[in-house]
Amino acid sequence: MDKKKLSLIALNIRKNAVAEVHAAKSGHPGGSLGIADILAYLYFEEMHVDPDNPKWDDRDRFVLSKGHACPAYYAALAEKGYFDKELLITFRKPDSILQGHPDMKHIPGVDMSTGSLGQGISAACGMALSGKIRNKNYRVYAIVGDGESEEGQVWEAAMMAAHYKLSNLCVFVDSNGLQIDGPVSEVMNPQPLDDKFKAFGWNVCVIDGHDFDQIAQACKNARNSDKPTAVICKTVKGKGVSFMENAVAWHGTAPNDEQYETAISDLEKIEKEINA
């Protein structure tokens, strides 16, 4: 694993995610910045995928159950070569394929349309179950939000994944502690998520969602388990942009021109540090 390379990819994902939301004057920058490292690791280290053949039947699958964080997802897909990076600034525009939430019908590389919370994890279970039925070796990855796990459907899916021993399923829980109305602990506390997944029969690990070594270890741990794996990732919502970090207000707000410049300058500082 080339951590410097991954860090630079994650940084590009962050820059492009902010650029998308800025250009659209709409979208969700906070959660996008928080999952950039997980996406960088999955697409550039972990998953067997082929951007030239996005529908390859033996590919690993990815479902962004918290679909609103798609600016980072689209940036990762573009980085991987599924489509031209120039498309990114068309995000949320009427003539763009890059819909406000992931659309599998039109966006190369998107394995499942998501956006309505709680639903993506069920589709990921279906993909994993299909892999078992058809004796395929592919794995299925998903990112679910901590706020999202307030949806009952997440636990219906959790029950099923354990019941059918979907060991080919690895769900990252983006535990950034914030949701639209405030801290998850105040709005409707879903914690302790690790104990809950354990109680539902999952293999569980808790990691720093910005640490590639820990993400790598979690993926390895998941591959060696005979249960579905939940990786509870402690993350910083808005990671990398000073004024967006841990700020509820940046869940679904677009930066204005001035804020955008500050955001990019923050990220460029990090880029210099990585290159130094």
Binding site: D57, Q119, S122, G126, M127
Partner: protein, 314 residues
């Protein structure tokens, strides 16, 4: 019209029959396999049957994931819990990505009987036909139910199939019977009025036409097994040629076949349309036979309503 079989029975048998022919067919249920009759498939193909437990929302999402990999999942529950509880999952995880999921919804309408209003879904056709790209099928008997299952398998895209709990007469056991998605069937020619029926009411419409014929009224009987896409051409033709329509369905008069026929007719060939079905009210407990009679699901009532529709002609 001799034998009586519930369309859910035919559904279970059809899944087993076609399970052998179509190897990528898989079946999901939500703890109702004995009632929806997917248990028949489970016996035949235990490796391709997955109980999702009492968790319909997840079941629909799982079906979407299975379909995204090329399998053809039939997800089954009662109409109330499939179309009702899981509406948004069907809309967003199946309809929006246009995934090849088949929803086999049984126990539709008041003929559920004793379980009462909480289990009698009279709203599913309305809900399902508003989803872009969704095919909505409501077979009238066991023969049509079997044919509908295969048609759904061969159709690429989401389908909602509606089946009943109550045994209904077999009316389509003709040698030349052919099922075509989206095509209505003229079961009886007539010029004075058209009775456009679906599901359990089709056999009643045929009996009503017999009664009307004794009153020197020639009623055309049309079976609409596919409510969406609707066979507008056939319905507009009936409007033009008979001048009045009675619709009949075991569903709310709001949003179902009656509404769909009104939409087609008022835009292309306005004629009087009377809608028969469940009025804007909930059902109740009772035997299916008794409830059907109480709520007017009789040939006599349809005959009177058809006459009323005729009387509205200018």
């Amino acid at each position: 019209m001799s034998e009586k079989i519930a369309t859910r029975e035919a559904y279970g048998l059809a899944l087993s029959e076609f399970g052998a022919k179509y190897k990528n067919l898989v079946v999901l249920d939500a703890d109702l396999a004995a009632a929806t009759k997917t248990g028949t498939f489970k016996k035949a193909f235990p490796d391709r049957f997955f109980d999702c437990g009492i968790a319909e929302a997840n079941m629909i999402g799982v079906a979407a994931g299975l379909a995204s990999t090329g399998l053809i999942p039939f997800a089954s529950s009662f109409a109330m819990f499939a179309a009702g509880r899981a509406f948004e999952q069907i809309r967003n995880s199946v309809g929006y990505p246009h995934l090849n999921v088949k929803i086999g919804a049984t126990h539709a309408g008041i003929s559920v009987g004793e379980d009462g209003a909480t289990h009698q879904c009279n709203e599913d056709i309305a809900l399902m036909r508003t989803i872009p790209g969704m095919t909505v099928i409501n077979p009238s008997d066991a023969v049509e139910a079997r044919a509908a299952v295969e048609a759904a398998i061969l159709h690429e895209g989401p389908c909602y199939l509606r089946f009943g709990r109550f045994a209904v007469p077999v009316i389509n056991d003709k040698e030349n019977y052919k099922f075509e998605l989206g095509k209505g069937v003229v079961l009886r020619e007539g010029n004075d009025v058209s009775i456009v029926a679906t599901g359990l009411t089709v056999h009643l419409a045929l009996e009503a036409a017999d009664i009307l014929s004794g009153r020197n009224i020639s009623a055309r009987v049309i079976n609409i097994h596919t409510i969406k896409p609707l066979d507008k051409e056939l319905i507009v033709k009936a409007a033009a040629e008979t001048g009045a329509i009675l619709t009949a369905e075991e569903h709310s008069i709001i949003g179902g076949l009656g509404s769909a026929v009104c939409e087609a007719v008022c835009e292309e060939k306005p004629v009087p349309v009377l809608r028969f079905g469940m009025n804007d009210e909930f059902g109740r407990s009772g035997s299916a036979a008794k409830l059907l009679e109480m709520y007017g699901f009789t040939a006599q009532n349809l005959a009177s309503l058809a006459e009323k529709a005729m009387s509205l002609k200018k």
